[in-house]
Subunit: 307 residues, 2 copies
């Protein structure tokens, strides 16, 4: 996790912009141009997405350490959308950003290895190595147990990548299973313990391992509880802004050094131009203003980071 | 689930062929041709995959009701692999097969709706409807609770689609979480109860709902237990053949009418040509022989289906 933590410290900003490019978020002039050049089906939509994403990335790459593209919003546009996803990752990395692929992938054994290769690794075809999507980090679901997580660990180690395992998600019904009591401990705390265990050989210089956890901003009590329980597990915190969590809610996710978590905001940043009522042409500048606002709000609420 | 059940009855075959096209499964002549025509990177590999898949589909489509492509093995070849995935679904449906997309997708709210649209639905772009992948069924992971499943139910209802929720998976470590005791009931039985609840409004003429469950062939005791507990939940059963489950192990998944489950085999069918030692050119015929063997083995072990 060191690569991400270093960027967070360098920019004094523990936040990540979620790139969920719904068509209604994209200003008309970008869509019009893309549909005219590439047709109004998936090809045009994918072209609009990549152009929109590039604008957001250009606007925030010097102040925000990471982006988190959500795969669902690319798959929705068939393989053309997945191509735009691949282009988005390449562009963000060119601009120095850390990329967290939000795919919540899960499977077992060689199938999970295939996901690890797809999202974080390289594939050998006839003796030559190719990089499929090449993100820096992947969100995963641990319901299948160690067989679903262990295939990712060698790639994390060899290629300096990370994963975030769903522990306590931000949605209202997350408690249906996650809050239930398992032999005296909640399901989410049990999953958290497994994260500590899976990451035990992969700790970096800040004490955090390559196996992080997803913990929602909408559950501040559990954030605090899990921060205390899981000293080596870095948190990815969704649910800030549009889903209802604020800076006071997320501060429990951080340690005494102002580290330990990265906070995601998608909708509030992507649709800042609509909220501000400014023309679509200024969507990127509005996104930057919202990203700055969010950074300042969080940084004011947490301990000062080391230099 | 009626569409799948009808095909199963019509063919007297409760099995599905898993299309996991690893490069090492694909005979040399197909790869050579594809790499020559399309280059040796992702484009060539994707071309080899779709040609290989078409051969398997042609060979089994009159005796096997369904295929189950595993998304990891397509994503591994970047967006070109995802394009081959889309082509595979279209080809299989043209040949009358039911397609179960094995993606184990999971998320919440509008993001889960995006996955539902991507894999089972249609997308409206500028007033025209487009179908991204258009499978008949999708495997999903229920760790996030109802917010992760309910967005799929309207599409299941309106477009006659189905889902399979991970309940008790086939891998050795599945018990780490799934077998634990939750207030007097295992995690997998709790997830099974949720499947009954989620599917309660979506029952079809055979009594099974559009919300099925994934239960591994490697746990015959749990298969029997869950069959009794979940009378309206159809089972997708992986782990047959290569993972160790046999016909005796899976018969507990079926009801008194020989219905209630579909058994998946991937590797044994796809690599039958290697196991038989026959030339790569005969891979499709070998796959058919293995599919027939599997069908006969299962049908002999379970009650006779209705006509």
């Amino acid at each position: 996790m060191d690569k991400l933590i270093k960027k967070i410290i360098e920019m004094n900003n523990p936040s990540v912009v979620g790139l969920d490019p719904k068509l209604e978020y994209i200003p008309e002039h970008i869509k019009k141009d893309a549909f005219e050049r590439c047709g109004s089906g998936f090809d045009g939509a994918a072209e609009a997405i990549i152009n929109y994403n590039k604008g957001i990335i250009d606007a925030v790459c010097d102040i925000v350490p990471a982006i988190k593209p959500q795969l669902a919003y690319y798959e929705m546009f068939s393989w053309q959308g997945v191509r735009a996803y691949e282009q988005t990752i390449a562009y963000a990395q060119e601009k120095g950003m850390y990329v967290i692929a939000d795919g919540k992938r899960n499977d077992i054994g060689t199938t999970m290895e295939a996901y690890a290769i797809a999202h974080l690794g390289e594939l050998d075809i006839q003796g030559t190595k190719y990089t499929p999507f090449g993100a820096d980090s992947l969100t995963v679901n641990g319901y299948l147990g160690s067989d679903g997580i262990k295939p990712l660990l060698p790639i994390c180690k060899e290629k300096d990548k990370s994963i975030f395992v769903l522990v306590k998600t931000s949605n209202p019904s997350s408690g249906e299973l996650q809050n239930k009591n398992l032999d005296g401990k909640t399901v989410y705390a049990t999953m958290g313990d497994m994260c500590e265990e899976w990451g035990s050989e992969l700790r970096g210089e800040y004490g955090y391992s390559a196996v992080g956890a997803v913990v929602g901003a909408t559950y501040p009590e559990q954030l605090k509880e899990l921060r205390a329980l899981l000293p080596h597990t870095f948190f990815l915190v969704p649910g800030y802004g549009a889903q209802g969590g604020g800076a006071e809610d997320v501060k429990g996710a951080f340690d005494a050094n102002g580290l330990g978590a990265v906070i995601n905001s998608s909708r509030a940043v992507l649709t800042a131009w609509k909220k501000e009522g400014c023309p679509g042409e200024e969507y990127a500048a509005a996104a930057r203003r919202e990203a700055v606002r969010m950074r300042d709000e969080i940084v004011a609420a947490i301990p000062k980071m080391p230099k």
